[in-house]
């Protein structure tokens, strides 16, 4: 299951920091990262940060999705095979 494809129709497979992850179809990327206990970004002074507002205004949930940096993951639904990289 390292290729990040879904095992059944209700689930979606994505790759987060190189690890395959299964999430429910319709989940946002921010929810997937929270379920995987993965911080989205490291703040200016070095603190790990995760999603806060859930509605696209705080920008704490930013991550690189399919090669595009700075995406607000709370506004983005997971797609099969999506590749997510967080700041570490």
């Amino acid at each position: 299951m390292r290729d990040g494809t879904a095992v059944n129709a209700a689930m979606i497979g994505l790759i987060v920091n190189g690890e395959a992850l299964q999430v429910r179809r319709g989940s946002t990327v921010a929810a997937a990262l929270l379920n995987a206990a993965t911080a989205c970004r490291i703040s200016e002074s070095g603190e790990p940060r995760t999603a806060v507002c859930g509605m696209g205004v705080c920008f704490e949930c930013r991550a690189t999705v399919d090669g595009i940096a700075q995406q607000r993951t709370c506004q983005m639904e997971c797609r099969d095979g999506m590749v997510v990289e967080t700041q570490r």
């Binding site: 319709g26 002074s45 940060r49 999603a51 507002c53 205004v57 595009i68 995406q71 506004q75």
Partner: protein, 437 residues
């Protein structure tokens, strides 16, 4: 890509859906733009978890879908001018699209107000409505101990939803004193429906404590939240938790209205009886005009939709009901007014601006008498990060009375490539996010 409509609505929450439905039913061509991938706004947000059927949502969405209004999801409005054009950023295609219109209806809703307190930037600390939104979009919180703190009617609603989703809600701490809430309760006698709603939320929470006159003084934990220190003014104690949900009522999203030149007052965008703003071609509805709940949003949406379509007189019968809902909102504001202790929670090293990690001591130094936010921004970079002051702005407004009056396009940071290829003019290069993740 360019689109042209008679009327454009920004926001597909209850207010925007009601407005667009009224416009389309009156036979005008209307587009609804929302950055969210699904319709519904905040209260009617799509949910992966089992939520009770909401018939008013089902009715509104069905009527909207049958109306002929055209929906553009995933469109984030980043620029516009009241003379007739908006520019939207579509993240899915990484491109800008233009919408021209004769009239515009703004229904951009509200966001939660956050107040800085020690530890509030720890992972595991969320907005209250924010946590609810994340759970609805797939965050699994079964078995997690949750404490909900802050103020406003949303706290109880959120706690009840989180419990339904399997969380163990340990405590709901409302900062407003019981006496203040009782006055609000009594003034609701004219609105029995709303009291019943409040009571049934309370009942669903059966095992959780609901404490009034109680507030957070610090979120505790190393790397992630493990507890919260609370106070009731006479004693402080610690409550263990896995997640801390905090929200200090709501503030309207007025950035787009400000950019378009609409007058904004203390409670939100200023509108007349037909929901028209100070700019004749622009109407504004729902929480953007003042926090007053979903019923006000629906009524305002319909009134503005009919007015913008040239049928204002048909909406007159709704004005009284709308005014009653708005006065409900004003009573709510008074009931959940912040006590003075809420304005002194931040310690010198508490981060106030999360984007730039600006600490309270830096800001209070810049806050010399006569100095406003512009000064603090220049000296500390507070509010200069990607959220453009959407989180720290309302906090600084509460703490120092500062207002963010300078709103510039793009309203949200855009990749540099998009700016180069667009007609958008920007003179504020600091709003760009250039750092790589």
């Amino acid at each position: 890509m360019k689109h042209s409509f008679d009327i454009v609505v920004v926001g597909a929450g209850p207010a925007g859906l009601a407005a667009a439905t009224a416009v389309a039913e009156a036979g005008r061509r209307v587009a609804v733009l929302d950055e969210n991938p699904r319709v519904g706004g905040q209260i009617w947000r799509a949910s992966l978890s089992k939520v009770a059927r909401d018939r008013s949502k089902e009715r509104a969405v069905a009527r909207f879908e049958a109306s002929g209004a055209k929906l553009f999801s995933g469109h984030q409005i980043v620029d516009g001018d009241a003379a007739g054009a908006l520019e939207s950023w579509v993240a899915a295609t990484q491109s800008l699209e233009t919408f021209s219109f004769e009239r515009l209806i703004l229904a951009t809703g509200a966001r939660e107000r956050f107040l800085p307190f020690p530890g509030w930037t720890l992972p595991g600390v969320f907005g209250a409505g924010g946590l609810q939104a994340l759970v609805r979009s797939g965050y699994d919180i079964r078995g997690k101990r949750v404490v909900v703190v802050g103020t406003g009617p949303l706290l109880l609603a959120v706690a009840a939803h989180l419990k339904q989703d399997g969380a163990r809600v340990v405590l709901v701490a409302e900062q407003a004193p019981l006496s203040q809430l009782m006055q609000f309760g009594l003034s609701l006698i004219t609105r029995p429906g709303k009291i019943v709603q409040g009571l049934s939320l309370r009942a669903q929470l059966a095992n959780a404590q609901y404490r009034t006159g109680c507030w957070p003084v610090a979120a505790l934990g190393d790397g992630t939240v493990t507890g919260v220190r609370l106070s009731d003014g006479s004693r402080t104690w610690t409550e263990a938790c896995d997640l801390l949900a905090c929200g200090f009522h709501l503030v309207p999203n007025t950035e787009l209205a400000t950019l378009l030149g609409c007058e904004v007052g203390d409670h939100g965008v200023v509108v007349d009886a037909d929901q028209q703003t100070s700019v004749a071609s622009v109407y504004c509805v729902g929480e953007t005009t003042a926090i007053a709940g979903v019923d006000a949003a629906l009524l305002q949406g319909r009134i503005a939709g009919l007015a913008a379509a040239g049928r204002a007189s048909e909406a007159r019968t709704l004005h009284m009901q709308r005014d009653a809902e708005r006065s409900f909102g004003r009573r709510m504001d008074r009931a959940f007014a912040l006590r003075k202790e809420m304005l002194t929670l931040a310690m010198p090293d508490t981060i106030v601006c999360r984007c730039e990690d600006v600490r309270f001591s830096q800001i209070s130094q810049a806050a010399a008498p006569g100095n406003g936010w512009t000064n603090a921004k220049l000296q500390t970079r507070c509010g200069m990060g990607p959220c453009q002051g959407r989180i720290c702005g309302p906090a600084l407004n509460a703490l120092f009375g500062w207002k963010n009056t300078s709103v510039r396009a793009p309203l949200f940071p855009l990749p540099i490539a998009a700016l180069c290829s667009s007609p958008l003019a920007t003179d504020d290069a600091t709003t760009l996010v250039t750092q790589e993740n």
